[in-house]
Symmetry: C2
Subunit: 154 residues, 2 copies
């Protein structure tokens, strides 16, 4: 599997991947033509320094993705942190360490950028995901708190 940063022309396939999931199928609009909101969001991601979507590619197909955002801050002597969101792996390749490879690449990228910490939140009901992240060295030391502004449960 190759890993590279997403480009504008990948957005169509990324949305297909996001929708290929029980929760995602309700949340996303995998339509043709693709709703403008996705393309607009990708422009905003590109315009924000330190914000990237990493893609796992096999046989020219996108089989996994995650979003990595480097956030500079003042605390801890001006430490940068890396935030991971939206980890997704195509259903028919789950269990093949695609997610692990993407996470390891994101962690390596965070180190290169000088981050002191990598962080993410994962739904408390997803016990398998917790074990997955713990195997990679993450500690469930914090509560992940969410406030919906849309009346949607995260």
């Amino acid at each position: 599997m190759d890993i590279r940063k997403a480009k504008q022309e990948d957005v169509r396939e990324i949305v297909r991947l996001l929708a290929d999931d029980e929760l995602g199928s309700k949340r996303e609009r995998n339509e043709d033509p693709l709703p403008e909101t996705y393309l607009e969001a990708f422009k905003q991601i590109e315009a924000q320094r330190g914000n990237d979507i990493l893609l796992g590619i096999e046989d020219k197909e996108i089989i996994g993705c995650l979003q990595l955002t480097i956030i500079p801050g003042l605390s801890r002597q001006g430490m940068k942190r890396a935030q991971i969101e939206g980890v997704r792996v195509k259903q028919n390749v789950r269990g093949k360490k695609v997610g692990e490879a993407l996470l390891k690449e994101a962690i390596a990228h965070a180190k290169l950028e000088g981050c002191g910490l990598v962080q993410l939140t994962t739904d408390k009901q997803r016990i398998d995901a917790h074990r997955f992240y713990e195997r990679l060295g993450f500690l469930a030391s914090h509560e992940g708190m969410k406030l919906s502004l849309e009346g949607i449960k995260e």
Copy 2:
């Protein structure tokens, strides 16, 4: 109390606030002259679109702060989320709703920016903080997972 965005000339006082805390006194370097790492970090915050530090000011003194980062993303039809970090309130004004006012301002700002969600993580040992965020409408629905790249426990 007034609330405004931090400027370069506030960094000295913000570091004093960050260090005015049991954990912070060990983590920060509240020295004169101020270590360059803080000023460099502030430049990087300013250079990242959507990243701001909000300050609570009373009698020209900084009595509270938080960092608010607006993160555009593709999932949920291109939903933006607001991430809150580094909430601090000066010790001698705790219990006077300074944190509440800062959080409410951050949430209002996130709404104005079109975010669908506000999120933060808080150490599991800080039970009072959980209650504080729950009173503001946050749900502890997620595990907050951290991977230190410095050998420092978050």
